[in-house]
């Protein structure tokens, strides 16, 4: 069985650079609840591709700038 990839995200940092956007604002923009954004930031929830793309669209960045998986992180570090 393949090893599960740990997926981290930069949502907190992106919110900070988007004029200190609140979790509630982001939740309303992407059409989910504030609890889901909180869970995402805490790394307790892996979103669907649909939600991941909507979050990336809100910040105007690519999906890989919002969500980073373990092996991609290793490649970036080296």
């Amino acid at each position: 069985m393949p090893k599960r990839l740990a997926i981290t995200n930069n949502i907190r940092r992106l919110r900070f650079f988007a004029n200190e956007m609140t979790q509630l604002d982001l939740a309303e923009c992407v059409g989910c609840s504030r609890q889901t954004i909180m869970a995402l930031e805490a790394g307790k929830y892996t979103p669907s591709l649909d939600l991941a793309f909507r979050i990336a669209d809100v910040f105007g960045v690519s999906i890989t700038e919002v969500f980073v998986h373990e092996s991609a992180k290793d490649t970036q570090d080296t």
Binding site: R4, L24, A27, E28, G31, C32, S33, R34, Q35, T36, M38, A39, A42, G43, K44, Y45, T46, P47, S48, D50, L51
Partner: protein
């Protein structure tokens, strides 16, 4: 804990309390040893009806309490902002009402995470009810009392609901993934 987590916890406590009351009543009136299946069925129907109405009322009360809590929380925050905004350029009353409506709407709305949790916990509830059915059949097949078999089948529903709600609380605390 999140709104969904607290709601699941309250639901689990409500169902557990109602089940306990039913068990005490059933034991006291001798429903486990009753030979009249009709009496058992009538009691179960009444207990089921009371449980559903009570669970709905508890959820309504919970929502009211949550709304009051959010309003108080927001009022405290606005008070803090008011003290730093002595120029009076912001209409805090309008801003506060809008904020509360947004928080309540966002907290209570159903999104993909709540749907995923519901999907996973439903499987557990169904599994428990299935086991209850099998257990009732086994007891019946081994020559046990039909009343006891019926009680086990009936009790598997609240036990399944409690298990599902506890799992929902766990998912809201520890998180959930698609994999």
């Amino acid at each position: 804990m999140t709104f969904a987590g607290v709601r699941a916890l309250i639901s689990a406590i409500t169902v557990a309390t109602l089940t306990l009351i039913y068990l005490i009543y059933a034991y006291a009136t001798g429903l486990f040893t009753s030979v009249s299946i009709q009496a058992v069925a009538v009691t179960m129907l009444i207990a089921g009806g009371i449980s559903i109405v009570t669970a709905i009322l508890v959820q309504i009360v919970f929502f009211i309490v949550f709304s009051i809590r959010t309003t108080i929380h927001d009022a405290i925050e606005q008070q803090a902002c008011r003290s730093t905004n002595s120029a009076g350029t912001v209409n805090f009353r309008d801003e506060s009402s809008r904020n509360i409506a947004r928080i309540l709407s966002s907290s209570t709305s159903e999104d993909e995470m709540t749907r995923l949790v519901a999907q996973k916990v439903k499987q557990v509830a169904l599994l428990v009810v299935g086991f209850g059915f099998i257990a009732a059949l086994v007891i019946f097949a081994l020559g046990g009392s039909p009343a006891v078999a019926l009680q086990i089948q009936f009790l598997s529903f609240p036990i399944g609901a409690i298990a599902a709600e506890i799992l929902a609380v766990k998912y809201s605390r520890n998180g959930i993934g698609h994999a």
